[in-house]
Amino acid sequence: MSVRRIVTVSAGLSTPSSSRLLADRLTAATERSLGDRGIRARVRTVELRDLAHDVMNAMVTQVPTGELPGVLSDLAEADGVIAVTPVFNASYSGLFKSFFDVVDQGALDAVPVLVGATGGSPRHSLVLEHALRPLFSYSRALVVPTGVYAASEDWGADDEGARELNERIERAGRQLALLAADHERSGRDPYDEPVAFEDLMSGLGT
């Protein structure tokens, strides 16, 4: 059975947070859909709250401390990423953005990403489209078409409302699984296989 590595990032701050609840359900949907294809998911779930100081350390000094280096290297090897943030002041939270600011440029290049967000009311649902999607487009990630937004009221919805959210979660998980199943890391580590000097000099004066 082949394996795909999924990294789930939740920026929720309370325990449990609704971002983590949504992240877990998106992860489960992705695992199920990969399982349907005969693929096992190896999941690492990251609570950014636990990394908050390390993220700031990396931001102000570039020194990766604590668990952060391990998380960054898992992210650099992920076949799929699930990224969920609470909506703060009409956008992703500062912690969520700061974390992705310290991720190496290129680490998400062509990596399938499923975006999710949570908020107090449904009125912020377009945060997926105006904040999260552009952020990951900039990272050259492959953002799956379905993003999932859950408002507080969704957690107490009647059957009809719950079914709508569930369907959306399943669809998003299916889309991520579809891309993750075909995902291959280029595998070339520039520290193991450097570009040879004569190729580096190509086009330059010698």
């Binding site: 000094t61 020194v63 401390t65 520290y191 450097p194 330059l204 004066g205 010698t206």
Partner: protein, 369 residues
């Protein structure tokens, strides 16, 4: 093995007194620090190069030329020389001149510079930093080795029939190190030429540093300069010492907490755990520095950062006394023990001259035979 210090040349307020040295005081302090380095028996003094406040060393060869006149023995170097935004022709001229005045006691460490605005100030684009470093160095390498150069490239106006003067002392160019903290391209470049590679590991965990140094060593062998373990490696270090380690921590903490480079970031304890920074007794510094060899193999040059973050000159001079009297003699002995005979020292002018004479002699012998 060479031991020395490298200075960024920052003008920083002493957080314990609120006093900021003037540029004049800082420049004179750098000279005094370099003279002290020689006095306490260190091998290398290296200055940074910056083109913006709060840093004073914008003209390294002026500073090093002045220090050369007041010293006898210490090797004068840079950390780093901006191979991107400087004209390689001017580097060739300036450092060959310095080499003559200092009777060969000169080498250089090339670096790209990471201050964004410096590139446009000198008419360049930071996004082309790597290709510029490659092309400029290639030209510099030729200017020091070929009497007449015809050259055309991407980043500088062409040269036809150009001779860089003065020619290097005894026809031997200064030894060059390439400094990089994260670019495999620069490790590859250093390996290609058989030059030295310096990793300023003071902000980096050992695992990262090791990847880059291993790459350089492997490629050094690939390009036929010798075995991987014979490649010429330099490392940074950062220490603050008092006889009693608790005194060192107490005295250094306000400087650490307010330093422009790491203030507001990790705690002193986290930083000393994750990076080579060592704050404690001379013995702790010795123990920590010896671990570098275990991680990166036998190496050739160890530079310490001692004068930064607003530390007063008097304190820095005391630190150099401790380094020269209590740390380096032990490190010399320990590093020499178990060092394989085929691992070379870093090339200096005298050794390169001797090697060339030995080579000439071998050739003469062959011709006669």
């Amino acid at each position: 093995m060479q031991f020395g210090i490298f200075s960024v040349g920052d003008v920083t307020t002493d957080p314990t007194t609120g006093r900021t040295p003037t540029e004049h005081e800082r420049i004179k302090a750098m000279v005094e620090i370099a003279l002290k380095a020689e006095e306490v028996g260190l091998d290398v003094f290296a200055t940074g190069e910056h083109h913006n406040p709060p840093f004073v060393p914008s003209s390294p060869t002026t500073l090093l030329g002045y220090i050369a006149a007041k010293t006898e023995r210490i090797v004068l170097s840079t950390a780093t020389t901006l191979i991107t935004t400087n004209d390689p022709v001017k580097i060739a001229e300036d450092y060959a001149s310095l080499q003559h005045l200092a009777d060969g006691r000169v080498d250089l460490m090339m670096g790209r510079g990471n201050t964004g605005p410096v590139y446009p100030w000198f008419g360049y684009d930071i996004r082309e930093g790597i290709p510029m470093a490659l092309e400029h160095y290639n030209l510099l390498h030729r200017l020091w080795r070929e009497d007449v150069v015809n050259w055309e490239g991407k980043f500088r106006t062409p040269l036809q029939g150009f001779t860089a003067t003065p020619r290097p002392l005894d026809g031997i160019p200064p030894f060059v190190w390439h400094g990089s903290i994260r670019s495999p391209e620069i490790a590859e470049q250093a390996a290609y030429y058989g030059d030295g590679f310096f990793h300023n590991n003071i902000f980096w965990p050992a695992t990262h540093t090791k990847k880059l140094i291993s790459l350089y060593r492997r490629r050094y062998e690939h390009y036929g300069h010798g075995k991987a373990e014979q490649a010429i490696v330099g490392l940074g270090g950062q220490v603050f010492m008092r006889k009693n380690s608790q005194d060192a921590v107490k005295e250094f903490r306000p400087y650490f907490d307010h330093a422009p480079v790491y203030g507001g970031g990790p705690s002193l304890e986290e930083f000393t755990r994750e990076t080579p920074l060592t704050v404690g007794s001379p013995q702790q510094v010795i123990d920590r520095t010896l671990t570098f060899r275990e991680m990166f193999g036998d190496y050739q040059r160890q530079l310490f950062l001692m004068d930064h973050a607003g530390l007063p000159l008097k304190t820095v001079l005391e630190q150099l006394d401790l380094l020269g009297e209590e740390v380096v003699p032990v490190l010399r002995k320990e590093f020499a023990a178990g060092r394989p005979a085929h691992v070379p020292d870093a090339p200096v002018h005298a050794s390169m001259l001797a090697a060339r004479r030995a080579g000439d002699h071998d050739q003469d012998t062959e011709v006669r035979a």
